[in-house]
């Protein structure tokens, strides 16, 4: 019985530490950004963007209006990270389907710039 209590307490501690250990990594933020983009999820996209980048995020969201899009084989990594600013590039692609025709958008051409605001990493630019 004591052992079970210990296990439950340890699990609770782990959950607490993970939830308080800081924000999602810059790479994870960009994965979430791409997923929101193809899902047409304006709310999530806005939450993952700096205030100055929200308009561009909206434009990017609108740009997929005419197609059905999905993210395929995405893997993102940090090119730079000084604790306040980060640059993230991803491999993989967005497959944009129009009718029966697929168009592949190579994600490696896009590098997102992120800033840490409070405890959150946000997409603030592109290079």
């Amino acid at each position: 019985m004591k052992r079970w209590i210990m296990v439950v307490l340890m699990l609770g501690l782990c959950v607490f530490l993970v939830s308080c250990s800081g924000s999602t990594s810059p790479a994870d933020v960009v994965v979430g950004y791409y997923n929101a983009l193809v899902a047409g999820d304006a709310s999530s996209l806005s939450q993952l963007s700096c205030a100055d980048w929200e308009q561009q995020s909206r434009l990017m969201l609108d740009s997929f209006t005419g197609v059905k899009a999905r993210v395929d084989s995405i893997a993102c990594s940090e090119l730079e990270n000084d604790g306040s600013n980060a640059a993230v590039n991803c491999s993989g692609k967005i497959i944009a389907t129009y009718g029966t025709e697929d168009q592949e958008i190579d994600l490696s051409n896009t590098t997102f710039l992120l800033q840490k605001q409070g405890s959150e990493w946000l997409v603030c630019g592109q290079k």
Binding site: D62, S63, G66, T110
Partner: protein
């Protein structure tokens, strides 16, 4: 008493004559009518092919002297209905009959008529041409990494004229961003030295014609030409649209659209090649 009655009858006759069916001078109302006809709200009454304004001619004359631009080149911005499969290429390839009076124009612009544009492809909308992901990311090797399809098209093709037909790929709530983004597109084109030519669209997917109004408003604001494709296809069955969706043009709709654009290109060619 009798004279009073006669006076009343006379006055009534005069009043009725003043409001009756007698012809009235039309000068003032005609002037008002002319002014109103130019207002964007009355885009349905705008001609299918406008006469180029003095400003448009000035832009073309300046573009013709600009060594950074190719006077024989136009670019296209639009969706699948603006690709060579359905748009203009048929005049060069012999798929459509080319009226004799436009042979010179088809010859003048023949390379642009058969060539793909980076900014005209399936599913593209006004936001897509401003999103760099649809340039290099979409496989256009000639585009820089962070360049938009529009910037890449203008840099690599160096057009003097850019034909813009946007609005069909749209979803509810995008009216404001559509107009904002289209203004951006127009300003980028003007900054390159080229003349943008806008168009109305035949469909009404937005239900209240807001996008055609936006096209007309921008054309009026910038004093640039607008080809009224909507008006060109009105005489056709189902107004030139494929039933039941009523989004894309029928084959005859494509022909009418092509004819309208060919006519404006003819006006452009006359300015460029006096």
């Amino acid at each position: 008493m009798r004279s009073r009655l006669l006076l009343i009858i006379l006055l009534l006759t005069l009043v009725l004559a003043g409001t009756g069916g007698a012809p009235r001078p039309v000068h003032s109302s005609t002037i008002v009518q002319q002014v109103d006809d130019q207002s964007p709200e009355r885009w349905r009454e705008w001609p299918v092919v406008p006469v180029l304004s003095a400003r448009a001619v000035e832009i073309l004359n300046t573009a013709a002297q600009n060594s950074a631009l190719d006077p024989h080149t136009f670019s296209k911005i639009g969706d699948c209905q603006f690709t060579p499969a359905t748009f203009l290429a048929g005049y060069v390839k012999g798929d459509y009959s080319l009226p004799a009076e436009y042979e010179q124009t088809a010859h003048y612009f023949k390379e642009s008529m058969v060539r793909d544009s980076i900014t005209a492809a399936n599913g593209l909308g006004v936001s897509s041409v401003l999103n760099p992901m649809f340039a290099a990311g979409a496989g256009y090797q000639e585009c820089f990494k962070n360049e938009t399809p529009l910037e890449c098209e203008l840099r690599t093709r160096r057009p003097v004229v850019v034909l813009v037909a946007l609005g069909t790929n749209w979803k509810p709530g995008q009216e404001i961003t559509f107009e904002e983004n289209l203004r951006t597109v127009v300003e980028v084109i003007l900054a390159s030295g080229a003349l943008p030519i806008l168009a109305t669209k035949a469909d009404n997917i937005e239900k209240d014609w807001k996008l055609n109004l936006a096209n007309a408003r921008i054309a009026a604001d910038y004093d640039i030409p607008l080809v009224n494709v909507w008006r060109a296809v009105q005489p056709l069955p189902n107004n030139g649209l494929q039933a039941p969706n009523n989004v894309y043009l029928t084959a005859n709709g494509w022909l009418e659209q092509n004819r309208a654009w060919l006519r404006i290109l003819d006006e452009v060619r006359v300015v460029l090649e006096p």
